[in-house]
């Protein structure tokens, strides 16, 4: 899966994207967030308070319990502030 980070999520984790292999344990977006949080450091900072995060799968807004599949593009970002 291609995983993208935007705004302060990108700044905290220190990169804008990375590839993470999809495994059977990564059933939902929440599972992926837990895996990232477990890395500690900037990842722990970004993924600790999930109420501040939003996610998209394949460029569509999703809830944190949305399912993941191999080949998905997953993005994590704060609530949007355009316009």
């Amino acid at each position: 899966m291609n995983v993208l980070y935007f705004a302060w999520v990108r700044q905290k984790v220190g990169r804008s994207e990375e590839t993470i292999e999809h495994t059977p344990e990564l059933r939902t977006v929440s599972d992926l967030a837990a895996l990232l949080r477990a890395r500690g450091g900037g990842y722990a900072g970004a993924f600790t308070d999930m109420s501040r995060l939003r996610a998209a799968v394949n460029q569509v807004h999703v809830a944190l319990d949305a399912p993941l599949s191999s080949g998905d593009e997953v993005a994590f970002f704060p609530p949007v502030t355009g316009g």
Binding site: A75, T81, G83
Partner: protein
């Protein structure tokens, strides 16, 4: 009706965009536009806008198609700038053409409300030399919420 959607660093000209929207559309009687600016006056010097390429265009096209279903429109143009913008610079344009003014006004407001709450843009503020990410506003969520029909 097809929507013109542009995500760009460059500035835009409202007259040019409205001209393009109304050319060869003799049934257009009304054009409502909204232009958003970097607002100063409280120490802010500039904004930097980041977006999610691909998803942004997709999400805005979806919002525009939704507006075209709700109102009878003859044209929609949405331009959103990205990058660093100083106080007084234009950020966003929504222009809506219709036969009648009610539809043009409502669709323009609807599009702005949804751009604010759905399109993946993020703003960083420059203030006294420091950069801070702007928090999403609950008032924007409330504004978008009013368009939901039971």
């Amino acid at each position: 009706m097809s929507a013109n959607i542009h995500i760009q660093a460059e500035d835009f000209d409202v007259s040019d965009e409205v001209e393009a929207l109304t050319a060869d559309q003799p049934t257009t009687g009304a054009v409502a536009t909204f232009t958003g600016y970097v607002r100063g006056g409280d120490g802010l010097t500039a904004l930097t806008l980041e977006h999610y390429p691909g998803m942004t265009e997709r999400e805005i096209a979806h919002i525009a198609a939704d507006a075209a279903k709700r109102w009878s429109l003859t044209g929609v143009t949405i331009i959103h700038r990205i990058g660093r913008l100083e106080v007084g610079e234009r950020i966003v344009l929504v222009a809506v053409a219709s036969a009648h003014r009610g539809a043009a006004f409502e669709a323009c407001e609807f599009l702005m409300d949804y751009l604010k709450t759905r399109a993946p843009f993020w703003k960083q503020e420059e203030r006294d030399g420091a950069n801070d990410w702007v928090d999403a506003k609950e008032t924007d969520d409330a504004a978008a919420e009013r368009w939901r029909k039971p």
